[in-house]
Subunit: 165 residues, 4 copies
């Protein structure tokens, strides 16, 4: 369709991601807590302030905002049973062989290289912090959201690892 008529709306995109997180009761601090807990054994002198700052930087990357906006939109629509079938059921039940959620997360966690990928795989398996909270909610579809949150924490950690090596 019509192409490139408009500049990419960085500010609106960022606000949209923050609002979607807020709506799910997720703060930047919740995400930074995962980053901090994972990286503190590798980075001497790491503070929560540094983790928060890294999460904030990551959340301004377009690739992150794009994947996050798509992810939150899909969860919201599955919540309203507004996705076509059989996708709606697949997303609502977070089926084990559905991997598009993890793919969007990989697209985020790879942006500083492979450290973010192993971070993400680990967080995704052990369901750390707010990721576990999201993953276990009743009456709320979080199939994509928990992976996006884990991926932002992973990528923020990878950034710190490279910066403070």
């Amino acid at each position: 369709m019509d192409k490139n008529l408009t500049k990419y709306p960085d500010t609106l995109a960022y606000r949209s991601v923050i609002e979607s997180l807020n709506k799910r009761g997720v703060s930047v601090e919740d995400i930074a807590k995962i980053t901090f807990d994972n990286q503190k054994k590798y980075i001497k002198g790491l503070t929560m302030g540094m983790a928060i700052s890294s999460v904030d930087r990551v959340m301004h990357k377009r690739e992150v905002m794009n994947n996050a906006m798509v992810a939150f939109a899909l969860d919201d629509m599955a919540n309203n049973n507004a996705l076509p079938q059989p996708l709606n059921t697949i997303v609502r039940e977070d089926m084990g062989v559905f991997g598009t959620d993890e793919l969007l997360a990989v697209g985020i966690s790879f942006l500083s290289g492979t450290i973010g990928i192993t971070n993400f795989g680990y967080i995704d398996k052990i369901k750390q912090g707010i990721v576990k909270d999201l993953d276990t909610r009743k009456n709320e579809v979080t199939t994509f959201s928990d992976d996006i949150v884990g991926a932002i924490a992973s990528e923020a950690g990878a950034r710190l690892a490279h910066k403070y090596e």
Copy 2:
């Protein structure tokens, strides 16, 4: 939410992908034509039948069906202005720095390894065959659809390359 209550609906997912392609006027043959044109110089004796068969095999992979269903749903919703903002505008205008569509395509074209990735990058740039047709449609959002079609063609070609090496 409720997890793993249901077996993955392979048949319904496959039918859904075929229907979404048909709705866009895309046949398996259209996709296989791209595969054939790209691989014929590498594979002696390659026929359209072999290309069609490879596309069909690729389209039965769960990872492919999942990404394709998500992609078609997103285009359909953007067509109906049913995505939240600013995502709706970003998808409708297929902005150059929006890369979630290519990410879903990478998730498909990597399944036989890196040959599919270079195939996809090339097809995506030169807009080959039905991909060009999709990319240039007026009054129809095809931001995700053209990449999915290109990715299936790419992955089908990578499969053939490995099989007939």
Copy 3:
């Protein structure tokens, strides 16, 4: 240089990978044990025989053999201080911000889709089974080898997950 003069040597490549594993004291069973331990909670009736068979299938994929041969060659050369500097030191010390080893592993563990990626991230962090043994060896460079072993186990698990869903 001279291109495509020879068919890809599948049998020699497979034997080379097996020999490199043997030289490191790693058996197919050791790898399959990781696969089995990770997937048994998801797949009812999973046996070690099924895990061994899946590992064997994965080890015949060209993309796997290629990355594994490169990985083992690099570790062997670092063992002999035969890599150029500063790469030799970086590999010998398995520096945290060196990620080429994990990249080769990602190239293996993604071949059935994103399940293998999260499997790999987890195994890489907790250093499961023979991966831990490899990772903690004295007087032997295993920077690449442990990731390759973890990646083969991950990909074998992802295959089983899709097959027995």
Copy 4:
């Protein structure tokens, strides 16, 4: 083996990459020329200076330096027939189903997101500029080198695309 005894040698790594490029007769300008030619139609006012500066930035990323050092070492060893068999032959002949070279390139070109991936796939297929020169050399193994050069150009272009959107 011994871990984390030493800080990552950023300066030595960068010099090593530059020297390996020089040895192959490749300058930063040669790489930037590919970046410039690919992005000029998308970025109004793009200059060679901007392309050179972007290539230089990319070449200082650790993930890039790591993959590049590994790639150049492998080509050099294949040149000297110093790799184990059958890997030595596979690399020397740059076999079509050998994909580890493209994998290292993907690890570079993904660092700003998916734009770099499609850039790389395209450059890899059409063998643009210095990539073609490298690819067609006689008596010199460039299996990995041409992909690394293409990947750096791709990633530099993706950076510019995001920056000047």
